[in-house]
């Protein structure tokens, strides 16, 4: 009954597109509650003016809850959503399962070649673009220029980890609750492990070798974890094992942090109205160790259509509207260039108006320096910079994240933590059939 009704509706869309205006189609769009997505919901009058026959129902949820709901829906073929907001981690996995609709047939004026190559590469599986990027981000160093000046130091545009340590030491004054560096410590594959995995790339470490053997027993991981623990124990804020993106953002905005290495989108917050240090913030690329890779990640919140959707044409029309160049211009005209969703299109960064935004260039350089298909120094069998795009990674990453978080809290040594991570990941990868 419902199915035939849906088939009829689906058919009506095809007819409507063919020129015969028929009944209104309602599509359900699931999205995260990030600022850029919320802004889009306020601009829907433009979409309705152009597409009077499509109505959009929003499901706006916090990231974790959203991921849980859309994953359950897509894996069980629920068909409740017509457009889903998903990240660079999900796209390769879901694309391989044929759970997503290919977006290769978007209209020519969508200009798919304008998408930033690194971002587009992360959303493409076997030549099919499975999701359209809404905004992209990398990570970079945000630091307090006033504190650096006071210490007589200058931050290079492309610092090394040694530069970072020197700066952290100089800016730390615990009596004034001023900590040289704030980094993520909260356990989770998208929290501390996003940071640590990206950081480990710059140390030449990798999660797995070409035969899927875990590499936590290698010296590169030891160097990564030792450096991280040293920085945080000596120069970090107390209770850091519970700090995620948001906690660190708050600390930085209040002036407790000298440096913070995190998502490029944070730039607009630390220079925004809620920040007490807005006038003193400067940016630098994520650090490296002279090995040719930097410790920055790559992420894009993207719009995709589940194969179970019965209204794929209407969904495509919506995605085209929400991610094409006209949308960027629309946001700019209503809310200013600084509020345009960043990190998706080359043309945006070539626009002289956008180049005036203070963190524009650093964001672009950071995104361009991350390569999901060759994330680290040595070859790897997986895709992903700060994650490993295999279904098992959310569980593995979170488990390892807990172990490293415990090391940060002083509950175990770095060596014990690495040995434990190695043993658990080996067990899980064997059980999952990667290691024969």
């Amino acid at each position: 009954m419902t199915l035939t009704l849906r088939a009829l509706l689906g058919g009506s869309v095809a007819l409507a597109l063919a020129g015969a205006a028929l009944a209104e189609t309602t599509i359900t769009v699931a999205t995260v509650n990030n600022g850029d997505m919320i802004r889009m919901q306020g601009l829907m009058d433009d979409f309705y003016a152009k597409n009077p026959d499509i109505k959009v129902e929003w499901v706006t949820l916090e990231e974790n809850v959203l991921r849980q709901n859309v994953t359950t829906d897509i894996a069980t073929g629920g068909g409740q959503y017509d457009v889903m907001t998903i990240g660079t981690y999900e796209v390769p996995i879901w694309g391989k399962q044929n759970w997503l609709v290919s977006l290769n047939d978007l209209p020519a004026d969508y200009d798919v070649d304008d998408l930033l190559p690194a971002i587009r590469g992360g959303l493409t599986v076997d030549g099919n673009l499975f999701a359209a990027p809404f905004y992209g981000e990398s990570s970079m160093v945000m630091y307090r220029k006033d504190l650096m000046d006071a210490a007589g130091l200058t931050m290079p545009d492309a610092p090394t980890w040694a530069d970072i340590e020197k700066a952290a030491a100089a800016m730390t004054d615990k009596a004034k609750e001023q900590y040289g560096i704030c980094l993520r410590g909260k356990a989770g594959w998208g929290e501390n492990m996003a940071f640590l995995t990206a950081m480990s790339n710059s140390f030449g470490a990798r999660w797995f070798d070409e035969a899927w053997v875990p590499q936590f027993d290698q010296p590169e991981w030891k160097a990564t974890l030792d450096t991280y623990l040293h920085l945080m124990n000596e120069y970090g804020p107390p209770g850091a094992s519970n700090n995620g993106f948001n906690e660190n953002l708050t600390l930085f905005q209040q002036g407790h942090c000298g440096m913070w290495i995190d998502a490029t989108v944070a730039a607009s917050f630390v220079t925004g109205k809620d920040s007490t240090v807005a006038d003193h913030v400067a940016f630098a690329l994520a650090p490296d160790n002279g090995l040719g890779k930097r410790g920055n990640w790559l992420w894009a919140w993207s719009l995709a259509i589940p194969a179970s959707s019965q209204k794929q044409e209407a969904a495509k029309t919506f995605i085209d509207w929400a991610t094409d160049k006209d949308y960027l211009a629309l946001v700019a005209s209503r809310e200013g260039w600084a509020n345009v969703p960043p990190g998706t299109r080359t043309s945006l960064y070539e626009n002289p108006e956008y180049q005036k935004v203070p963190f524009a260039k650093m964001t672009l350089d950071s995104i361009n320096s991350a390569d999901p298909n060759a994330p680290t120094v040595k070859p790897v069998p997986y895709v992903g910079v700060q994650f490993v795009a295999i279904p098992e990674f959310q569980g593995l990453g979170t488990t390892v994240g807990e172990i490293f978080s415990a090391a940060l809290a002083g509950q175990k040594s770095a060596d014990d933590a690495l040995a434990e991570a190695q043993s658990i990941v080996t067990d899980e990868m064997t059980a999952a059939g990667y290691i024969q």
Binding site: E62, T76, L249, F269
Partner: protein, 276 residues
């Protein structure tokens, strides 16, 4: 309440009771205060009880950002509906267990409670599939049924306890007078059990109102209640405590006001409970 109290003692207990009550209430009060602050002063260090820049902008933003009335109405329908349906099933059951107990009544009670022993997350996918296949997914009736079944054991238990307080002789007497079973329940038992039923009702409306796992897992748009509304305000990006506080205040306000107005009813109900 015939006992005499000296004014002095009344003063001391009043101060003590208010002190304790304010201490328990303080986090809620703090949340409400936070909802009127700017995001920056919400996390000011050291925390400020009062700030200079009071604002209602958080409420305006929360209101503008989502369809509050729809979430609100879904919450009302789901929590009240599931509680009333639960009471309709539970009152007769609790009556019979309290006044005509069999050998296995206690086991039956315990078994009812045991239906709640499975952790919700463990049955997430099975129940999700059941709801999908039966067309109950994202419907208010589906959530009414789910929450009713989830809380039914609690309703039966609480009613059973309160009914047990009522001396069986009163019912015996009514029966002697030739009251039918129906009359016995409606005209004799229920009035005496009003306090118990009132507090069961209140507690279960709150339990259903606050349920934040199934109500989010089993809905998308049409049936999503205030728990989903809240889940759209704990933002992973940017400061959000003031906005989250405002959204939370909006989510608890209706039930707080309900509690406030039903207070007289409730207190009268509660004091009626001095069954002799």
């Amino acid at each position: 309440m015939a006992r005499a109290h000296s004014p002095r003692r009344m003063l001391i207990t009043t101060i003590a009771a208010w002190g304790v009550a304010l201490l328990i209430f303080f986090p809620v009060l703090w949340m409400i205060l936070t909802s009127f602050k700017t995001e920056a002063s919400a996390v000011a260090s050291p925390p400020q009880l009062f700030t200079a820049d009071w604002t209602t902008e958080n409420y305006a933003e929360v209101w503008a950002r989502s369809d509050y009335p729809r979430f609100f109405w879904n919450s009302v329908v789901i929590s009240v509906g599931s509680t009333l349906l639960g009471l309709a099933l539970a009152i007769p059951a609790a009556w019979s267990m309290a006044f005509v107990p069999g050998r296995r009544t206690k086991d039956l009670l315990m078994w009812m409670l045991s239906t709640k022993m499975m952790p919700a997350v463990a049955v997430m996918v099975p129940l999700y599939l059941v709801f999908q296949k039966t067309g109950l997914f994202d419907t208010r009736i589906g959530l009414v049924l789910a929450l009713m079944l989830m809380n039914l054991p609690i309703i039966v238990w609480m009613l059973y306890t309160y009914f047990k307080e009522i001396p069986g002789e009163i019912l015996e007497a009514a029966r002697m007078d030739g009251a039918s079973l129906w009359n016995e329940i409606v005209h004799v038992l229920t009035p005496m059990a009003v306090p118990g039923i009132a507090s069961t009702l209140l507690l279960n409306v709150i339990l259903a109102w606050n349920e934040a796992f199934w109500t989010i897992t089993l809905t998308t748009v049409r049936a999503a209640p205030l728990s989903a509304f809240i889940a759209s305000f704990s933002a992973p990006q940017g400061l959000f405590y003031a906005k989250l506080s405002a959204a939370s205040a909006m989510a608890i306000a209706p039930i707080l006001i309900l509690g406030w107005f039903s207070q007289k009813q409730l207190v009268r109900g509660l004091t009626f409970g001095a069954v002799k």
